[in-house]
């Protein structure tokens, strides 16, 4: 790995673990066992590192979010569960860059560019979720009125965006599996009232897995 990539990689890990505000460029250099001068040769400062990490995130995330917009994830009713699995994919990707979400307001105030990018992502997120809901409606997996569908997509976006902060507030640090699984379960809870009996079995499976997970982690 090139030094530049290593710097980005280590910064992301430190931001996620220690929190972005508590991490300095000196910390990053120490962690990498390089001199601060070497770090400054590659990046002008922490601002640039954060901006680039966000660019990485925006690129990856917008690719992921475009998938259900372009084409339904489930071509027919039989593969409807793929939509739920997709929620895991999105949340896992968010988790990789969770430092952004843990300090969102502060971050967006300091970086106007990131703010713009973040707004784009949120719009894309709700479009993706709306597209999923629309597919489910077309395949008669859910039964809802159009206006309800818009509300549902917004609620899901809201939940998705602030899930990590909420989870940390309630439980401090839990294992990523539990956090992500419960996040998906929460999203499904919103869809559940519109689901037919067939799909409820998936929801119940999700619930059981969650209970087992909690039992395992004690």
């Amino acid at each position: 790995m090139k030094t530049r990539d290593r710097i980005l990689h280590t910064s992301l890990a430190l931001f996620n673990e220690e929190g972005e505000p508590d991490t300095t460029t000196i910390d990053i250099a120490n962690e990498l066992d390089i001199s601060p001068g070497n770090l400054y040769y590659h990046f002008k400062g922490k601002d640039q590192i954060i901006t680039e990490l966000f660019q990485q995130y925006e690129q990856a995330m917008s690719h992921t979010l475009r998938a259900p917009i372009e084409r339904p994830l489930s071509p027919d009713r039989g593969s409807v569960e793929d939509n739920w699995y997709y929620l895991y994919v999105v949340m896992e990707e968010m988790y990789q860059y969770r430092f952004l979400y843990h300090n969102l307001d502060n971050l967006l105030q300091r970086y106007p560019d990131i703010k713009r990018g973040f707004k784009r992502l949120i719009q894309l997120k709700r479009t993706a979720l709306y597209a999923i809901c629309q597919t489910l409606l077309q395949q008669e997996v859910i039964d809802a009125k159009d206006q309800q569908l818009l509300g549902l997509a917004d609620n899901m976006t809201l939940n998705l965006t602030f899930w990590f902060s909420y989870d940390t507030l309630l439980h401090d640090n839990r294992s990523p599996q539990v956090t992500i699984h419960q996040g998906v379960l929460q999203l499904l809870t919103m869809v559940a009232p519109y689901l037919g009996d067939d799909e409820l079995s998936f929801y119940h499976s999700c619930e059981t897995i969650y209970v087992n997970m909690l039992a395992d982690t004690g």
Partner: protein, 174 residues
């Protein structure tokens, strides 16, 4: 009168929808396609169209990369599905399907051993095939009594063995 009323409501929800959609912004092709799917029956809202137009510049760039991205999204969905199935509690339907499969497997093994005995094949090859068949039966009965992830794997293994035993028999027949 109620007709009037519902017209107004329709109009209101239409406006709300347009506002919602307009927020989507400049995501070019992807959004347009979504819009196409969402609004097939309806006249596309003008405001939204303009916004899509404004974002068209992004289109080219996004298009190429989305193909590759789609691929990885599907791969990742597959990975999650697999993981989920490992954790998922066994459902009655799953168990029934498994029972059915085991029954089929048993029948196949029976047929196979019957055919072998009838043909009176050479000593060494018979004992070899017999062993495999026996193994599958053992594995199959194990599944029958207690179904778990590991044993499901055993079924698959057993099934593979039976199917690999098959061509050998037909070869001997010929």
């Amino acid at each position: 009168m109620s007709d009037e009323k519902s017209k107004v409501t329709d109009k209101a929800s239409e406006i709300a929808k347009n506002i919602w959609l307009a927020g989507v912004g400049a995501y070019g092709k992807a959004v347009e396609e979504a819009q196409g799917r969402l609004e097939k029956a309806m006249e596309p809202p003008k405001l939204f169209r303009d916004l899509v137009k404004a974002g068209a510049a992004l289109e080219e760039d996004a298009r190429e990369s989305t193909l590759a991205a789609r691929h990885t999204v599907e791969e990742r969905i597959n990975r999650v599905r697999e993981n989920f199935h490992n954790q998922r509690p066994a459902r009655i339907e799953d168990l029934m399907a498994l029972h059915k499969k085991v029954d089929q497997l048993n029948r196949k093994v029976d047929q196979l051993s019957k055919a072998l005995t009838e043909q009176g094949v050479g000593k060494t090859s018979r004992s070899k095939t017999h062993k495999t068949a026996k193994k599958s039966v053992v594995a199959a009965t194990a599944v029958r009594t207690r179904v778990s992830k590991k044993q499901t794997k055993a079924v698959i293994v057993a099934r593979k063995k039976t199917s690999s035993g098959k061509p050998a028999t037909s070869k001997r027949k010929a």
